[in-house]
C-alpha cells in the first residue's frame, strides 16, 4: 500500500467555515475586539462619544500618528523600523515654512517630498548596503534631524502658515476633513498594497526570511530601501497635515510620535516574527490609542494616564502573541 503516509495524518482540508472562524478568532482579531468593546463602553458612559463631530475629531487627531504608523507597518513587515519618522514629520513643517518665502507654496511642498525620498534612500542604503542595523542607524538619523530642527529654527517656533497650508489641516471634501481622508484613504491603499500586490508580498517575504528571499531571486536590498522611502513619504505627509493643523512648526514638533506609531503597528498584529502584516489593523490600533485618550478626557480621568496605559497594552499584546506562538 503506497497510500500509507509516513507523516502525521493531519485533519483534512479546513472548510470555509473553519477558515472564517480562524480569521475571526481572538488570536487574529484581539485588537479589533478590544477596540469595539472600548467604543461600546464609552458610548454607554458618555453621550458625547458617538456624536459625528466627536468621531471625526478622533480620526482627525489620530491622522498624523496614523500616517506614521501606516509607513511603519511596511517597515516592520520587512523586519525593519525607523525611529526618526516622528522628528521627520516635524522637520517637514520647518522645511516648508522656511522655503515658502523663497520658492512659493507648491514648490515647497514638492521639495519636502523630495527630501523625504532622499532621507528614505539614505537611511535604507546605510542599513542594507553597509549593514548597520536599523536601531543604530535610525537613532543616528533621529539625532541628526532633531539637531537640524534646532539649527534651522534657532530653537524658536516658526509661524507663517498660508491659507493653502491650513487646508491640509482643516479643509474638507464632502464635509470630511482632509486629514481623515488622507489617513483612512492611505490605510485602505496600504492594506491593498501590502496584502494584495506582488510588492507587498515581497516585503512580507523579506520580513519572514531575508536570506531565503534573496536566494529566491528577490532584490532584497532595493526592496528594503523602498520601504524606508515609503515610510519616509508617509511621515512627510503626516508632517504636512501637522503643519496645517497647528499653523506653526516647533523645533520639537512630531518628536516622540514614532513610538506611538510603532506601538500601533505592533498592536495591529504585524508580526514581530515576520511574514505577516496588516495595515487595516494598524489603523484600528491607532484609533484605539486615540479613543483611549479621548475617553480619558470624556470621563475626566485625565490624559496623563495615556502613556502609562499604552505601555501596558503594548507589552500585554506582544506577550500574548509570543505566548501563543510558543504554545504552538
Amino acid at each position: 500500500m503506497t497510500t500509507t503516509q509516513a507523516d502525521f495524518k493531519i485533519k483534512r482540508d479546513e472548510t470555509r467555515a473553519a477558515r472564517l472562524a480562524k480569521a475571526l478568532s481572538l488570536q487574529n482579531m484581539a485588537i479589533v475586539y478590544v477596540f469595539i468593546i472600548l467604543c461600546i463602553i464609552l458610548a454607554l458612559s458618555s453621550d458625547a462619544f458617538l456624536r459625528p463631530r466627536n468621531i471625526i475629531n478622533i480620526v482627525r487627531q489620530a491622522s498624523v500618528v496614523g500616517l506614521l504608523a501606516i509607513g511603519m507597518t511596511f517597515l516592520l513587515s520587512t523586519a525593519q523600523f525607523d525611529l526618526a519618522v516622528g522628528a521627520q514629520a516635524g522637520f517637514t513643517g520647518v522645511v516648508i515654512l522656511l522655503l515658502i518665502p523663497f520658492i512659493g507654496f507648491v514648490p515647497a511642498l514638492l521639495a519636502s517630498l523630495i527630501i523625504a525620498v532622499i532621507i528614505g534612500l539614505i537611511t535604507g542604503a546605510i542599513i542594507t548596503k553597509i549593514g548597520v542595523n536599523s536601531l543604530v542607524t535610525t537613532l543616528g538619523t533621529l539625532s541628526i534631524i532633531k539637531g537640524l530642527l534646532l539649527v534651522l529654527t534657532d530653537g524658536r517656533i516658526l509661524r507663517g502658515a498660508t491659507p493653502e497650508l491650513r487646508w491640509f489641516g482643516s479643509g474638507e471634501i464632502l464635509s470630511i476633513p482632509f486629514p481623515v481622508i488622507a489617513f483612512i484613504g492611505l490605510g485602505i491603499l496600504g492594506e491593498f498594497v501590502l496584502n494584495h500586490t506582488r510588492y507587498g508580498r515581497y516585503l512580507l517575504a523579506i520580513g519572514g526570511n531575508k536570506e531565503a528571499s534573496k536566494l529566491a531571486g528577490l532584490r532584497v536590498d532595493e526592496l528594503i530601501i523602498s520601504a524606508f522611502v515609503l515610510s519616509s513619504i508617509c511621515a512627510t505627509i503626516g508632517g504636512i497635515i501637522l503643519l496645517g493643523r497647528i499653523y506653526s512648526a516647533s523645533p520639537l514638533g512630531g518628536v516622540g510620535t514614532e513610538f506611538i506609531a510603532i506601538t500601533a503597528a505592533v498592536l495591529g498584529g504585524t508580526s514581530i516574527f515576520g511574514g505577516e502584516g496588516s495595515v487595516w489593523k494598524t489603523v484600528v490600533a491607532v484609533l484605539l490609542l486615540q479613543v483611549l485618550g479621548n475617553g480619558f478626557n470624556l470621563l475626566n480621568i485625565g490624559a496623563n494616564f495615556q502613556q502609562l496605559i499604552q505601555g501596558f497594552i503594548m507589552i500585554g499584546a506582544v506577550a500574548l502573541y509570543t505566548y501563543q506562538r510558543r504554545k504552538q
Binding site: D7, I10, E14, G208, N209, F273
Partner: protein, 508 residues
C-alpha cells in the same frame, strides 16, 4: 541478552502520546541495556522524536511508564530527566558561541569561590578528570565559535557526561559530520560504551547503525515494528520494516542518452582560499554530481554560480558565452535556480503558507499588473501538491507545520515553477525520509530527461554514485577527481574525497 529485563538501565513501557487528531505513539516499548548502543530508526513522522521528547521530559506522556535502573522514574521536565541520568545531545547543538568549552560545560552550575568568583581551577580539575576517564582530548580554553561541528558535538557529549548521564540520546549525530568526524565520533562512543554508558542513536542513516549499534528498534507510524540484534539482521531488512514494503532500488535508471550541449561552464573560479581553480562543465540533460566532505567547498560553488558569492577570479560561461551573474535575481532571469542546502534557514519563509512559498520566485505569473490572483496562486500550489505528493491539509498550510520531506518538496516546487533550465540542488535529501528521497531522485531524473541541466551537490557519496551521470569530487576547495559514467561509484568517490594523497586522479 538472556535476562536483559533484569539488567535494563532504561525501560519505556507502553508509551502512548496523542496530539489533536494524531496518534504519535501507540503503546511503544523501548529497553536499553547498560553499555549498549541502541539505534532507533523510522521515517520522518514515525514517532522517534516524540519518543525522545517524552524521555527527555519535554513532552508529557498520555500513558505508559518509564523505569530507570529498575525503579520507576519520575520525569516531568527536562530538569528531572537530567537529574536522573538522561543526557540529550541535540542536533542543533545549543552552545554559547562566544564562551569557552569549559564555560559552556559549566553553564548554569558554576562553582563559586571567594566573593562569588567563578572557581575556574575547580572547573578545570573536574574537566580534566572527565576527559581523562573517557580518553577525550579537547582544549577547554577554546571558544565554541572556533570549533568544528564535530568538536561542538564533543562538547555537548562532555556536557551530558559532566552531569553524570547514564543514557545518552543522540539525535541525528552524524547528519552534519564528514567521514573522518563520523569515525572519530564513533570511536568516542565506543570508548564511553566500554565505560558502561548506554546510547540511544536516532538516525536516518541505516548503514551507520550497522557500524555502531548493538540493537535497533524500528518505529513506523507511531508503532514499534520490532527490536532486533544488529548481527541478526541486514540493512535491507531494516529499511523494509521502516517503509513497510520491500525496498526497491531507491535510485532511478540512469539516462542512456549521450551528452547534450554544454550550458554552464566554470573556468578557473577562485574564491579567496576557500575555492581554488574550479573548472567544470554542465550539459543539457545530465545530472552532474558534485561531492566532497563537509567543508570541501561544494556549496560555495553553488553560491558563486547564482551570484550570491563573489568570485575573485575565473569566468562563468552560459551557452558558450561569458556571462555576468551578480545576484540570485540575475541567476533566475538567466534560468538558473538554486535549491539551497539549509531549507529552514535559506529555503523557506516558515510563516508563509505553502502556496506563497511556491510562488515566491515566479509570482509575476500570478500577479499581472502587480496584483496577486490568490485563487490562481493556490491552484498552482495544488498542482504541485499532487504532482510531488506533498502531504498537507491544504495549500494554505503554513510550511512551519510540515515535515522535513514535505518542506523540501515545497522548495523544489518553487524551483520547478521558475521553469529554470539549470537546476542546482544543494543537499536536497538532508534530513528527509527514505520515501521522500526516492521521490526526489526520480523527479531529478525525469527533469534531466526533459532537458534540464542538473548540478546535484551532496555529501552522501552513495546518493551521488546512485543518481549522477558524472561526478566531480572536491577536496579542500579544489577538484580532486572527475569520474565519468563508467567510473562513478561510491568507493571511488569516497576514496577521492578522503585520500590525503594530493595527486588528483582524473579518470576519463
Amino acid at each position: 541478552m538472556t535476562d536483559s529485563s533484569l539488567q535494563n538501565i532504561l525501560e519505556m513501557r507502553g508509551i502512548t502520546k496523542t496530539f489533536p487528531g494524531v496518534i504519535a505513539l501507540d503503546k511503544v516499548d523501548l529497553e536499553i541495556a547498560p553499555g549498549e548502543v541502541h539505534a532507533v530508526v523510522g521515517e520522518n513522522g514515525a514517532g522517534k522524536s516524540t519518543l525522545m521528547k517524552i524521555l527527555s521530559g519535554a513532552y508529557p506522556r498520555d500513558s505508559g511508564s518509564i523505569m530507570l535502573d529498575g525503579k520507576p522514574a519520575n520525569i516531568e521536565s527536562p530538569a528531572d530527566a537530567i537529574r536522573q541520568g538522561i543526557g540529550i545531545v541535540y542536533q542543533d547543538l545549543p552552545l554559547v558561541p562566544a564562551l569557552t568549552v569549559l564555560a559552556n560545560i559549566n553553564l548554569g552550575r558554576e562553582q563559586s569561590g571567594a566573593l562569588g568568583r567563578i572557581d575556574r581551577a575547580a572547573h578545570l580539575a573536574r574537566y580534566q578528570r572527565l576527559c581523562d576517564s573517557f580518553g577525550i582530548h579537547l582544549d577547554p580554553r577554546l571558544r565554541i565559535r572556533d570549533l568544528t561541528v564535530a568538536e561542538r558535538q564533543l562538547v555537548e557529549i562532555l556536557k551530558v557526561l559532566d552531569r553524570d548521564a547514564q543514557v545518552i540520546v543522540m539525535d541525528e549525530p552524524t547528519a552534519t559530520l564528514d567521514q573522518n568526524a563520523k569515525e572519530a565520533l564513533f570511536q568516542t562512543v565506543r570508548r564511553l560504551q566500554a565505560g558502561g554508558k548506554s546510547f540511544i542513536f536516532i538516525t536516518h542513516f541505516i548503514d551507520e547503525i550497522f557500524e555502531i549499534a548493538d540493537r535497533v528498534t524500528i518505529l513506523k507510524d507511531g508503532l514499534r515494528v520490532d527490536t532486533l540484534d544488529i548481527d541478526k539482521t541486514t540493512p535491507e531488512a531494516v529499511v523494509a520494516m521502516m517503509i513497510g514494503h520491500s525496498p526497491r532500488d531507491m535510485f532511478p535508471e540512469k539516462s542512456v542518452a549521450g551528452e547534450g550541449q554544454a550550458v554552464l561552464e566554470l573556468r578557473g573560479i577562485d574564491v579567496g582560499a576557500r575555492i581554488r581553480d574550479i573548472s567544470l562543465t554542465l550539459h543539457k540533460g545530465e545530472i552532474l554530481g558534485l561531492t566532497g566532505l563537509v567543508g570541501s567547498g561544494c556549496s560555495d560553488i553553488a553560491h558563486v554560480i547564482i551570484g550570491n558569492l563573489h568570485a575573485d577570479g575565473g569566468e562563468i560561461w552560459l551557452d558558450g558565452e561569458p556571462a555576468r551573474i551578480d545576484s540570485p535575481y540575475d541567476a533566475i532571469q538567466r534560468g538558473i535556480c538554486l535549491l539551497p542546502s539549509d531549507r529552514k534557514g535559506l529555503g523557506l519563509i516558515l510563516e508563509f503558507e505553502l502556496a506563497r512559498n511556491i510562488s515566491l520566485s515566479s509570482i509575476a505569473d500570478v500577479s499581472p499588473r502587480g496584483i496577486i490572483q490568490f485563487a490562481r496562486e493556490r491552484q498552482i500550489a495544488q498542482e504541485y501538491i499532487e504532482q510531488l505528493r506533498i502531504v498537507t491539509p491544504s495549500a494554505r498550510q503554513r510550511v512551519r507545520n510540515l515535515s522535513g520531506g514535505n518542506q523540501q518538496k515545497v522548495v523544489l516546487a518553487r524551483m520547478l515553477n521558475t521553469n529554470a533550465r539549470i537546476l542546482i540542488l544543494d543537499e536536497p535529501t538532508q534530513g528527509i525520509d527514505v520515501r521522500a528521497k526516492e521521490e526526489i531522485f526520480a523527479l531529478m531524473r525525469q527533469l534531466a530527461d526533459q532537458g534540464k541541466a542538473i548540478l546535484f551537490i551532496s555529501s552522501e557519496f552513495k546518493e551521488v554514485a546512485g543518481v549522477a551521470d558524472r561526478g566531480i569530487v572536491l577536496r579542500d576547495g579544489a577538484i580532486a577527481a572527475e569520474l565519468d559514467r563508467e567510473d562513478i561509484s561510491e568507493a571511488r568517490l569516497v576514496s577521492a574525497a578522503t585520500s590525503r594523497a594530493a595527486t588528483a586522479t582524473t579518470a576519463s
